[in-house]
Symmetry: C2
Subunit: 348 residues, 2 copies
């Protein structure tokens, strides 16, 4: 999407190198990071230089291609597969929650397995597969944008949580894609971005994206979300997803669950936008989704910990929103109801 007058993607691959927009530095600095090895790419995912379900998936796919690139051309099938498998384990262990990561590494791994007669063939096949994943991610975002746009009415107040914009995917994004399409169609609306502590992706990334696309918006503390709904300033909520269980339960950024509960209490439709790659048919319900806990350093600095040595910090990265709070899941195949039957029908 737009950065100044140029068009960028969040992540791309060229001649064995993965290029990433450094999301640590936004909105203060726009910087591209080059990652030349799968180990460096795995570290970039773990350290959240790149974050967001789709962007993690696309990056992970490219990372696994780098592992194939790192293999000497003379390697035989067994040795090649052993090295790539090890790389896959390294990449898979970076972040536990987002489905898209495993979706991508599994697809690239299958491509390698099917073409392991020679390293060169495996390289070509894996790169083709990883590029397809990136392309599909981008196209899914654009389609989600076109489908979701129909939900946006003139002068609506729309709330979003965290960042499920183009920075969270290869391009377009999911929760923000309908806004980008609506803006291009000339619709007027106002967006409230929840700050989204601890990492403040709403304040730092979503606000930056919306500013670049000239969409009017305000950032609010996470504590204001309910009050804004109560004040009738929100007519729709759209968020992204990191993993969707077979029954429609959604794992997404910590704080999503409470926004969904507040939406229900205030009769505001709550939508999740996600590509089919985010669905995990092997997971029956949200209870089975592993929830990442991260360091308290994401919340407070050293000075705070020094002053409050008797205080603990608990820091969850995600939470689970039960399907009953979700009005619909906006996918590239249309808006799916959040229940087992509808999901099964659309995934097959």
């Amino acid at each position: 999407m737009r950065v100044g007058k140029k068009h960028y993607k969040t992540v791309w691959f060229s001649k064995g190198t993965v290029y990433l927009i450094d999301q640590h530095k936004l909105p203060f600095k726009f910087k591209i990071v080059r990652s030349r090895t799968y180990q460096a790419t795995a570290k970039a995912i773990k350290d959240m230089v790149v974050r967001g379900a789709g962007a993690i998936g696309v990056t992970a796919g490219f990372g696994l291609v780098q592992a194939v690139y790192a293999c000497p051309l003379y390697l035989k099938r067994a040795a090649l597969l052993s090295r790539v498998k090890k790389a896959k384990q390294t990449i898979d262990s970076t972040r536990p929650t987002a489905r898209n990561l495993f979706y991508a590494t599994e697809r690239v791994w299958e491509a390698v397995k099917a073409n392991a007669q020679s390293v060169l063939m495996a390289r070509r096949a894996s790169e083709r597969e990883a590029l397809s994943i990136a392309k599909e991610d981008e196209e899914a975002g654009k389609t989600i944008g076109m489908i979701g746009e129909k939900l946006i009415h003139q002068n609506m107040g729309i709330m979003t949580h965290c960042n499920a914009g183009w920075l969270a995917f290869s391009d377009w994004g999911t929760a923000l894609a309908p806004l980008y399409v609506a803006k291009r169609k000339g619709k007027k609306f106002f967006v409230f971005c929840n700050e989204t502590r601890p990492r403040s992706q709403g304040a730092n990334l979503t606000a930056w994206e919306l500013g670049n696309e000239a969409i009017p918006h305000a950032v609010v503390a996470d504590t204001s979300a309910g009050s804004l709904m109560q004040q009738k300033r929100i007519q729709m909520i759209i968020v992204g997803a990191d993993r969707i269980a077979a029954n429609g339960d959604v794992a997404n950024k910590i704080g999503t669950y409470q926004v969904a509960v507040l939406a229900k209490e205030n009769n505001i439709p709550f939508y999740v936008a996600a590509p089919l790659a985010t669905f995990d048919k092997h997971i029956k319900s949200g209870r089975q989704i592993p929830i990442e806990k991260r360091s308290g350093n994401e919340l407070f600095n050293r000075k705070w910990f020094k002053a409050l040595q008797k205080s603990k910090v608990e820091n969850f990265a995600f939470d689970i929103t039960p399907a009953r709070y979700i009005k619909g899941i906006i996918t590239e195949r249309g808006i799916i109801r959040a229940n087992r039957h509808a999901i099964q029908k659309n995934l097959s």
Copy 2:
């Protein structure tokens, strides 16, 4: 309450000077501020050197006494009243939401009016009244603690929002007072403090208070509140109040409303603790309570505003929790149900 091995109050008055614990500096530095004029005291309230419903009230009362102190002894009734009235307006305009502020300035003002024959008499009467307010505030806190303590069971997980501890009052506090009493009785329980953006009083003040009293606790991002309830780690919620309408609607720190909605959804009792001074019988319902909006600088620094020039910030200081979400209001006269009838019976 305890600071190291010494006992402190949040605010006290001696020989015309108001002494305040500087709440801007906590938990990093423990510093006492001296305020020698009513103007300086009003500024300390406005700038939130002192904050919290009760502490604001006590400080405001002392501030108005300072205005009487500033009057030359020869002043006649009309001139005296005119000066004190002006001072009252200055103090009343500092913060619009907390009932205790107006409660205190009205009481001191009445004492001045009834003793305006001479400046000396007005001085003595106003000081006596302001000291009574401080004493009543402290005693109400202690009684609330003893009444609320009965709700605390062994090994409970208790959530609180913002800071309604002793720093928010003259001593003891409201929401935290039951915890202090329970701790002294040897009960074991664990407290979750919501960070409470934008000003993080939960992280900075409540955590500091609980640490000083050796009560086990963890600080969490405001976005984690719902998830913790969903995980069944919270069995009770207690918060304070800045103003309570005649129908039981409660104005309190922004984010309280959403914690209350989440409590209802998860079948967790949600209590408000407040002295009778916080009730405002002239206000029929929460809709009539003025809600303070404050500068976006409370949320983000200059660097952020410079990087995101197209982004607005909306920053509410308080929200309204409708009475139907409240299990009971813990007051110095017992636990009152949050409805017009019960409140009327107990206030009269």
